[in-house]
Symmetry: D2
Subunit: 403 residues, 4 copies
């Protein structure tokens, strides 16, 4: 066993960390001001573009993507970098072109796209010229059960015609999100996991209608393109826009999930570390009832519990990444489910404690805690509520072969 | 022992419940629309005025206030009414002129105000002609320790001059909040709990400056006047504006707390009941993995746990109210602390489960859950973080005489 | 609403409390010594008889039993007395002839027994001349599902013949337990809740075989007759021994449950109070790292949390008792389930904290904590694991009519 | 990063696992019978000797000890073996001569003993000819604060004279425990961590008096020598019996702790795995309310939560072991504290769930769960209650340098 990172990873950690601390975190207030000055604007604010230019200039770009198109890192190598980007969740991932949902969409195109699809959509995404959205969740059904998905993708000659309604299409409020990957049903009579397909729908296709932005707690997440409800009314795209083949939707979704979970979980751990850093500063500076908060039992207890959670869960995520690298996503299923369940709720708890320590400032916009809380809270629902995964993990465990 | 309400209370429960269900809840969408249509407006939107007119016409007005000026109810009689108003926290309390911080401010004026102060400020508050704010918390100190309060109230001839900075002055963004009750230090050399005083500061007094609105988890709480940061720069008011006398600030604050806790806690329980009602509806209607959510173990477990929490905590609040009515606030101290700690966090947990059941809709503005969550979360910080009270309760318990 | 006890109850509380503190608790070490000196003896040790004589002489006898045969108290009147007996769970309940399973068995005989059955078994139980056991749980099936019960009670002429195996027959190791109430199946073809019956089986009936004592976390509970595994091999008793009628077993069991839950829960709360009293003493006396434990944050926090749990849950049990008194057990079902779930686990947690405070002494026999812990832990399994009740409560709540 | 074990470790895991499953677990009932047949006997029962002979014959002996005297494994190599011994905590560790407190005592002698001390005590311990005890905890003081230790070790010519009282001297009831390592104060005026020393006291030294055995919950732990209270009344031993030097007691205790924590924690994880294995079997076999327990939501949830806890905490322990191997115990302090806190309580919770699933059988002696629970519960107190470590970890974290 070996718990240290290799040298290349250590070097990248240093460089990413420096960028996040010296640029991204400092730019957060600028972003707030630019957002406040431009209500209703959904495209990137200028400071985002500046950060992206700087990161690209430093070679900190597309770090998430394995293979020659990206930085060529394994999951276990990219994981600690994703953690560092979580310190500034609104600015660091996007600065490195490593923000969801673009990351997952680029992976899908890289792994399952045709050369034409790659040329048309993957290249500009990699170059940072456009953004994208992933249209999976639907308002009217429990989408954690993929067979519930009601959007129809119907073949009609050389085209597919898409009809349905999606919501929580993250990033789609940003007019630069030029391409949507849409999940829908091509064959309701196929077996359970062969009914769905994914298809590329350019934003400007007739019949695509952005209905409204959604909010998460009170946040519109305007800095990263918000979350849209979108109607697809008889939207016609060329048959060549289908990804991989009819019935492949579920399999692509599964493949997309693994790395995404690593990214989400490591960023969440980074948020927890940021919170602990803020807590440390506050607890040493703030005096109540005659003593710094840092000397009060409950504060120490919170910090210790948080440290224990972060250390054990980080290891679990890293092991999951290592399993994905060595035995593949399928055999890492239990671990992938485990981190999906365990990390966001622990981070939510850590953030909740940090908010409590900060008092009213903690729930306000003066600290990043409440907004990170909203993000962590949402992760417990992302790609299915935790309970679905808990049930599946338990069922599998109860059937697992034992000595 | 007798666990049922008296007949007058039962009748009022019916009437309040009918109003909340038949008017307030239905008006929530109208409020959303009116707010969306008038960005930047902090005064009451029209629907609020209509509800207030209706409630007053029905005699459901100032229910919170004991004595002849109000409905004359005891704490244990008003408590179940407060619970019902919690079902629609943005509209029901204000409709009945029973919304914080006006309630606490009216109590202060009724109990400690001079006849002149009452004529000038209490009467219009009772009539619903103006609103008010309570300026206690400060940005730079841990205000849960009252001796930390840094705002100065200095006597100068026939005037007092107030200098300091307050934040989380709820309601103060509303231009109709005509009067502020400000807590500040009159004598730094007095003994610990005799240093502070409270004073009436009309909104339009020179030197009062509204700096900015604060947000709670992204919400600006514009429907009830938001939360302001306010500078008091050499603000001069007549000496007659002092409430009760120099050094009485801490005692008034304590007196104000007791009923306020009952109101907050019962409203929070009402929010929990609303959430459980929404959960019931959703769980019976929504199907995942072939069965309604209502048939799934984890959902039943959540609902059962929530029901147990609500039933036991409601009893604790009611007993606290009964103690306040029978032996007085001072001897109900342990219970008052207990409900402050136990209720908001339980309600937060119940709301968290409800959000989880609703999936992404739960964190959005389509359901009232996320906004109620932000409210319950904030209660854990209101008048001091829970931990301060937990510590005090534990210390007292460890000293309590025992057989 | 009225949260105080009536005068008769207050007087009884005083007398019971005095007896428990001045006699029962002091006798605990004597009991330990008598038990240590007589390994393998299952009958009452002398100190128990002495306490029973003293309690009877003081008129503190059969307090649990409503009606003329007992003290004639309602559930809400007896509840606080049961709490006081929980301070010394090994000696106080038995001293007052208020110990399970005799209490439930006496209730069954009083409510459902024929005059002959009452003369033969109820009278000597009330007089304290014999003891009894209740034979319900079976080793081979999940007995929380009553329809699983496999013991057969077969009519054969003027007799019934009983065949089956029971365990956790509390008290049955005591040779003075002269009568067993046995639950078994009389008609497997009847509808679900009419299949079972209860029958009286004298201990010395041929075919009754005590197989072995069981232990609870290492404790044999020898002071109150232990827990037996018993075989019933073609045990023949007169048909007149059947209680109430064929098919009435489930209904009798349900009727027996309500008061039993009140007793168990209030005694458990008494154990928690005893623990808190011990904690208080220890925390003030014990110094670590230069300060008494009572001044350390985590200790205060534990004590405060425990106090909050005790106060809120006691109210829930009292309200349940009041509901049983006023609207009947059936309409108090939700509350009866709620206290069954909520109280033992909270008391387990309170005891766990107390053990932690006492360090190694806490898990030893030098303090009553570990043995009380084992008792509270077992309550979470008694008459069905909590989860069965949680599920039922959740299901009912999800179907409950709402406004 | 590399999460797999090396080949030697994998081979040893296989062999240890085979021994535990094919011999130790099967011998548990034999041990129960031999214990029941010989009340009051504290020495090893015959089955233990047979297992030890078998393990030694297979070369599975002294696996815990690094260097040439033992198996020469690193901490990270031994850790997974310790886990496997936790499946049968009463028989497997002792079978491999890897049971506490002998392991820690052998480490102390190997690391700090003189050649004479090693020849006299270490060799027979390694050979399995004698056993030992560690006398640290005292009944009258909070021993988690080492400066509280009141036992005196006084120099008198060529001797030391020991006076004091110890308890929880594990293994000391076994007459084969020939040597005691006693911690006591040699110099009350030295600085805080230089006041204590450790000294070797042969069991048969005049003045050593075994007072009584202690119980853990109701268990006397007779199978491994119980836990003794011991008086040392002017016990005189040669000065050569002192270990390492005066004032070295605290440092030796610290050195002894690190590996001990790894062993305890990994064994606890092994207990959790055994429990999960039993749960799996039971949940698939047991039917309630028409379905196997394995299909019921709450059971799956428990199993999944337990799996997540085990996976993440095992990684934390392994990383701690790796840190001890690579950077040393001192720099692994945070992690050593973290596992001490996190593992036993998680295992206690996993065992609690398992007990709940087994119903009344779970608390009885028919399953190993209740006794393992008592063991895990005690670990939360061993070498200081968790809260002491939590506080220290929090304090250190709040002072840790950050970017």
């Amino acid at each position: 066993m070996e718990f240290s990172h290799d040298q290349r990873t250590l070097d990248l950690i240093d460089r990413v960390e420096a960028f996040v601390h010296e640029r991204a975190i400092l730019a957060e207030r600028v972003l707030d001001e630019q957002l406040a000055a431009t209500p209703g604007e959904w495209s990137f604010r200028p400071v985002v573009g500046e950060l992206r230019d700087a990161a690209r200039a430093e070679g900190l770009w597309n770090l998430f993507l394995p293979g020659e198109r990206g930085a060529g890192l394994t999951n276990v190598q990219y994981a600690p970098l994703a953690e560092r980007t979580g310190w500034s969740p609104r600015l660091a991932p996007v600065a490195f072109n490593c923000a969801a949902p673009d990351t997952g969409n680029m992976e899908v195109l890289a792994d399952f796209g045709t050369p034409d699809q790659q040329a048309e959509w993957l290249e500009p995404l990699l170059a940072g010229d456009i953004r994208s959205s992933f249209c999976m969740t639907e308002p009217d059904v429990a989408s954690s059960d993929a067979t519930n998905i009601a959007t129809r993708i119907r073949r009609d000659g050389d085209s597919y015609v898409i009809t349905g309604r999606k919501w929580w299409s993250t990033g789609a409020m940003n007019p630069d999100a030029a391409i949507f990957i849409v999940m829908g049903q091509t064959d309701p009579d196929a077996e359970r996991h062969r009914q769905q397909s994914m298809i590329l729908v350019p934003r400007d296709t007739p019949g695509v209608r952005i209905i409204r932005p959604l909010t998460v707690f009170g946040y519109d997440d305007r800095d990263h393109g918000g979350h849209a409800e979108i109607a697809f009314d008889d939207v016609r795209v060329p048959a060549a826009n289908l990804i991989a083949g009819e019935g492949e939707g579920f399999a692509i979704a599964q493949a997309r999930l693994g790395p995404g979970r690593i990214h989400h979980c490591m960023r969440a751990i980074g948020m927890a570390e940021r919170a602990l850093s803020l807590v440390q500063e506050r607890a040493n500076a703030r005096v109540a009832f005659g003593r710094p908060l840092a000397e009060q039992g409950v504060v120490r207890e919170w910090v210790a519990e948080s440290r224990i959670q972060v250390e054990s869960l980080r290891l679990l995520v890293l092991k999951t990444a290592w399993l994905m690298d060595t035995v593949g996503n399928r055999r890492a299923m239990t671990e992938i489910q485990a981190i999906k369940i365990a990390v966001p709720r622990a981070v939510q708890q850590i953030l909740d404690r940090a908010i409590q320590l900060f008092g009213a400032a903690g729930v306000s916009g003066d600290q990043p805690l409440a907004e990170m809380f909203a993000g962590a809270r949402s992760l417990r629902l992302a790609d299915g509520p935790d309970e679905v995964h808990l049930n599946a993990l338990g069922r599998a465990e109860l059937k697992a072969p034992r000595r």
